[in-house]
């Protein structure tokens, strides 16, 4: 059922209850996010060029963690998921979780991930 609404007179609490998004952050937040994303990217590329670190066990978890942080920052702040209605979060995280589980299942099935101490 589609309806046309005028939300101009709603209080913040009423807007929240109606599922209307909060005010988006401004320039001060956006440029800080851009700086953080740039610094993380520099860190990722920097560790790529350290042979001792690449050979260590910390390399893969470090890169995956940095990438996950970048991913989350863009989604939360630039895509405004931090400020939006929970239905939007569900619509995004639901398929993302299913897809990620499928990825790990396929990696396991094709022998890229091994459990326990098998050969």
């Amino acid at each position: 059922m589609e309806q046309a609404h005028d939300h101009s007179s709603l209080t913040p609490a009423e807007a929240e209850a109606a599922g209307i998004e909060h005010e988006h952050p401004g320039w001060s937040v956006y440029w800080r996010v851009a700086v953080i994303l740039t610094l993380i990217t520099i860190a990722e590329v920097w560790v790529y060029y350290i042979p001792a670190f690449v050979a260590s066990r910390a390399f893969l978890p470090t890169l995956l963690s940095l990438s996950a942080v970048k991913f989350a920052i863009v989604v939360l702040f630039y895509m405004h998921l931090r400020y939006d209605h929970k239905l939007f979060r569900t619509l995004f995280t639901g398929p993302l979780i299913v897809a990620t589980c499928t990825l790990f299942a396929l990696m396991f099935l094709f022998g890229h991930i091994r459990l326990g101490h098998g050969a």
């Binding site: 005028d6 990217t41 990722e44 990438s67 991913f71 239905l87 990825l103 094709f110």
Partner: protein
């Protein structure tokens, strides 16, 4: 935003088109994860080179192929795409705040939606330029989509992403044309927001591709 704007809201109280774009983004996540999965599954299983991170000598000719990935170039294109996301949020903010008083030069620059939309499109085109350069150099160095499993999965994954960036650039240029023709204002904020969500999604997918394909050996 306090302007009175009529949109089509569903029984949830949420705008239909915004629900649709999030559902679309969710489905796109599954598409890209399937492509990334295929790349990862076949990683390291190519019988012949060139390889992404290590050199390879062709036994029949003795020709030595260097590691094919060019991390500095891809790092630059990644930075460009991240900055395009910054330009896009500023474009959205400018459209949302159109009509509000601009007291100084800084506020006039931040409030110029045409500037930020054009900047986003230019950065997107810059990213595509880097990708065209990368694809061309790979082909010149002997890696095509038919060469080996790495080539097949790499070109499919990054090609799909490039196609999405191209669609995004066309969308942004269309919105820029509308802005020049009649001006974008708060009543257009939802349309720009939907476009921005798509653009940021293309950005986050590249965040994952950059790490999983280019940096992890």
């Amino acid at each position: 935003m306090s302007a009175t704007v009529s949109h089509h809201y569903s029984s949830t109280g949420l705008e239909n088109r915004k629900i649709a774009i999030w559902a679309f983004i969710g489905s796109e996540c599954m598409l890209f994860v399937s492509l990334i999965s295929t790349y990862l599954i076949y990683k390291g299983r190519s019988r012949v080179g060139p390889y992404p991170h290590t050199p390879w000598t062709d036994p029949s000719t003795g020709h030595v192929y260097k590691a094919i990935l060019n991390i500095p170039v891809t790092s630059a294109s990644t930075f460009i795409l991240l900055m395009s996301s910054l330009a896009m949020v500023l474009a959205l903010a400018a459209v949302e705040n159109k009509g509000k008083p601009q007291r100084n030069l800084g506020e006039r620059i931040l409030g110029n939606s045409k500037l930020w939309l054009a900047m986003t499109a230019l950065l997107g085109i810059g990213f595509l330029g880097f990708q065209a350069y990368e694809f061309t150099s790979f082909v010149n160095e002997g890696l095509t989509i038919k060469t080996n499993l790495f080539g097949s999965t790499f070109f499919t994954l990054t090609g799909f992403h490039g196609a999405h960036v191209t669609a995004g650039v066309i969308w942004i240029l269309s919105m820029l044309a509308i802005d020049f023709k009649r001006g974008l204002g708060p009543s257009d904020a939802l349309n720009v927001d939907i476009m921005a969500l798509y653009w940021h999604f293309v950005d986050v997918i590249w965040v994952a591709i950059f790490t999983l394909v280019y940096l992890i050996r």
